[in-house]
C-alpha cells in the first residue's frame, strides 16, 4: 500500500519509543488509509497500544514521523488532531454522568439526534442515552466508547482490541459497524490479537512493520 497520508489517512514511519531504558517501539511502521479497515496484529506486549497512543499524540515518540493527510502531526493542534483521529481504548473509561453525557462530552452543540445516531452506529438503542455510565457492563462500555468516538465524526478511528469484552454476535456487529465507517471514507485501524476476526473484517492485516504477517 502506498503513502496513505496523501489520500487523507495516517502514516507512521520508523517510530521509536523507550520506557525505563527498554525499547517499547523499535522502528514501527503503519499505514491507515481512509476508506479501509486495517487490522494491526501483533502479540500482547509488542507495542500495539503504545503505537495507537502515539498516533493521536497521547504519547510522543522519541523518533520517527507520524503524518495525517500528509502533515506531520506535531504541526497540528493536538485538540484538532484528537478530534480528527479518534481512539477507543481497550478498557474504556466512562466519565461521570449518563451515557449521553459521555457521547456528547466536549460537544456542546450535540443534539439528542446526534447522540442517538452515534449510539445506533455502535449497536445500542436510543434509550441507552439515559443510562448511568458507571453501571454499564464491559461490553456496553466498549460500545458506548465507540459511540463516543463516532460522535466526533473522526477521519481516522483507532480501536485497541475492540472486541475483547464482546460476545461473538456483538463482535460481528462491531465488525459490520467498522466496515460501514470505512465505506463512508473513515480510515479504521483496529489493534487485535484475534487473527481470524481481523481476516474476516479487515481489508488489510499488518504487523508493526506495516507488512502482512505470514499466515
Amino acid at each position: 500500500m502506498g503513502d496513505s497520508s496523501e489520500a487523507g489517512g495516517l502514516t507512521a514511519r520508523d517510530v521509536r519509543l523507550a520506557r525505563g531504558g527498554r525499547a517499547v517501539l523499535d522502528g514501527a511502521r503503519l499505514t491507515v488509509p481512509r476508506g479501509a479497515v486495517t487490522a494491526l496484529v501483533a502479540p500482547s506486549g509488542a507495542g500495539k497500544s503504545t503505537l495507537l497512543r502515539c498516533l493521536n499524540r497521547l504519547l510522543d515518540p522519541d523518533a520517527g514521523t507520524i503524518e495525517l493527510a500528509g502533515r506531520n502531526v506535531r504541526g497540528i493542534d493536538p485538540r484538532e488532531l484528537r478530534r480528527r483521529v479518534g481512539l477507543v481504548a481497550q478498557t474504556p473509561t466512562m466519565l461521570p454522568g449518563t451515557v449521553r453525557d459521555n457521547v456528547a462530552y466536549a460537544l456542546p452543540a450535540a443534539t439528542d439526534g446526534d447522540v442517538a445516531r452515534a449510539l445506533r452506529a455502535a449497536g445500542l438503542p436510543d434509550a441507552f442515552a439515559g443510562r448511568d455510565a458507571a453501571g454499564l457492563s464491559g461490553g456496553e462500555r466498549a460500545r458506548v466508547a465507540l459511540a463516543r468516538a463516532l460522535s466526533r465524526a473522526p477521519e481516522v478511528l483507532l480501536l485497541d482490541e475492540p472486541t475483547a469484552a464482546l460476545d461473538a454476535d456483538t463482535a460481528a456487529l462491531v465488525g459490520r459497524t467498522l466496515r460501514a465507517l470505512a465505506d463512508d471514507g473513515v480510515g479504521v485501524c483496529m489493534a487485535v490479537h484475534d487473527v481470524p476476526f481481523a481476516r474476516e473484517h479487515a481489508d488489510r492485516v499488518v504487523g508493526l512493520d506495516d507488512r502482512e504477517p505470514p499466515r
Binding site: L58, D60, R74, P78, R82, L87, T93, A106
Partner: protein, 260 residues
C-alpha cells in the same frame, strides 16, 4: 514554688502517666510517648528562647519568619515527592499567601507591627497554608495516578490539559480545604482554638481573644484556599508536556498520610 515550675512538672506528670499506662497495657508505645514528650520539652524550650531573642531584637523577626517558611516548605515538600522541585513548589504555595495575609492584617491595623504580633500570626497562617498544600498536593498526585485513564480519555475526546485535569484539581483543592472549613465551622463548639486559649490564659478578655481568633480563623480560609490553588497549578504545570499531554511522575511508594 513558682507557677512556671509547677506548669512544667504538671505537664511532665501527665506525660509520665500516659507512658506508664501505655506500658502497663502493653500498647508498645510507651517509649514513643516518652520520646515525643522529651522532644516537645526541648523544642518548646528552644523556640521560647528564640522568640524571646526575636522580641528583644525585632530585626530577627524576618530571619525567624524565613526559618518558619522554610521548615513548612521542607515538611510539605516531603509530601510532594515525585515532583521535580518539591520543596520549592511547596515554598511558593505556602509563603506568598501566608506572608501577604500577615502583612495585610498589619497594614489595616488588625494587629500591631511588632514581633509579638507578627511572629505568631505568621506562624498560624504558615501552618495552615502548609497543611492545605500537603493535603491538596498529596491528593492531586494520588489522583493523577489513579485517574490517569479518565484524564487521557478527556484528552482523547478533545480537551486541553487544563480541561482534562479540572476535575482532579477541583477534588484535590476541596480535600485540602476540608480541615480549614471544619475548623471554622466547629470553632467554639467542638474545640477552643489555640489563639483564643493562649490569649485568655495570657490575661486577655474573652471578647478580645474571640475577636483575634476570628481574624486569624477567617484569614486562614483565604490563605489555605490560595495555597491549595497555587500547589495545584504548580503540579498541573509540572505534569503538562508539549502537545497537550500529561506525563505523571513516578509513584512515591513511601508516602505517608499528610498530618495536620
Amino acid at each position: 514554688m513558682s507557677t512556671g515550675v509547677v506548669q512544667v512538672l504538671a505537664a511532665l506528670a501527665f506525660a509520665a502517666a500516659a507512658a506508664g499506662l501505655a506500658v502497663r497495657l502493653r500498647l508498645g508505645i510507651g517509649r514513643e510517648i516518652v520520646w515525643a514528650a522529651g522532644r516537645a520539652v526541648l523544642q518548646l524550650a528552644v523556640v521560647g528562647a528564640v522568640i524571646a531573642a526575636v522580641f528583644r531584637f525585632p530585626a530577627l523577626s524576618a530571619v525567624f519568619l524565613a526559618a518558619m517558611a522554610s521548615a513548612a516548605a521542607l515538611t510539605s515538600g516531603s509530601r510532594l515527592r515525585g515532583l521535580p522541585h518539591p520543596r520549592r513548589t511547596a515554598l511558593l504555595a505556602i509563603a506568598p499567601p501566608a506572608l501577604a495575609a500577615t502583612g495585610l492584617l498589619i497594614l489595616v491595623g488588625a494587629f500591631q507591627a511588632t514581633p509579638r504580633a507578627i511572629v505568631p500570626t505568621a506562624g498560624i497562617l504558615l501552618g495552615g497554608a502548609m497543611a492545605a498544600t500537603s493535603l491538596t498536593g498529596r491528593r492531586m498526585l494520588e489522583a493523577l495516578h489513579d485517574e490517569l485513564d479518565a484524564i487521557e480519555t478527556r484528552l482523547a475526546l478533545g480537551d486541553d490539559v487544563r480541561g482534562a485535569l479540572a476535575p482532579v484539581v477541583r477534588r484535590a483543592v476541596v480535600t485540602g480545604l476540608v480541615p480549614a472549613i471544619d475548623q471554622t465551622r466547629s470553632v467554639g463548639i467542638v474545640t477552643l482554638p489555640g489563639t483564643f486559649v493562649g490569649l485568655v490564659l495570657g490575661g486577655a478578655s474573652p471578647a478580645t481573644a474571640a475577636r483575634t481568633q476570628l481574624v486569624v480563623l477567617l484569614a486562614l480560609l483565604l490563605v489555605e484556599l490560595l495555597a491549595a490553588l497555587l500547589v495545584s497549578v504548580a503540579i498541573s504545570r509540572a505534569v503538562t508536556a508539549p502537545g497537550e499531554r500529561v506525563v505523571v511522575p513516578e509513584r512515591d511508594d513511601a508516602r505517608g498520610t499528610p498530618a495536620r
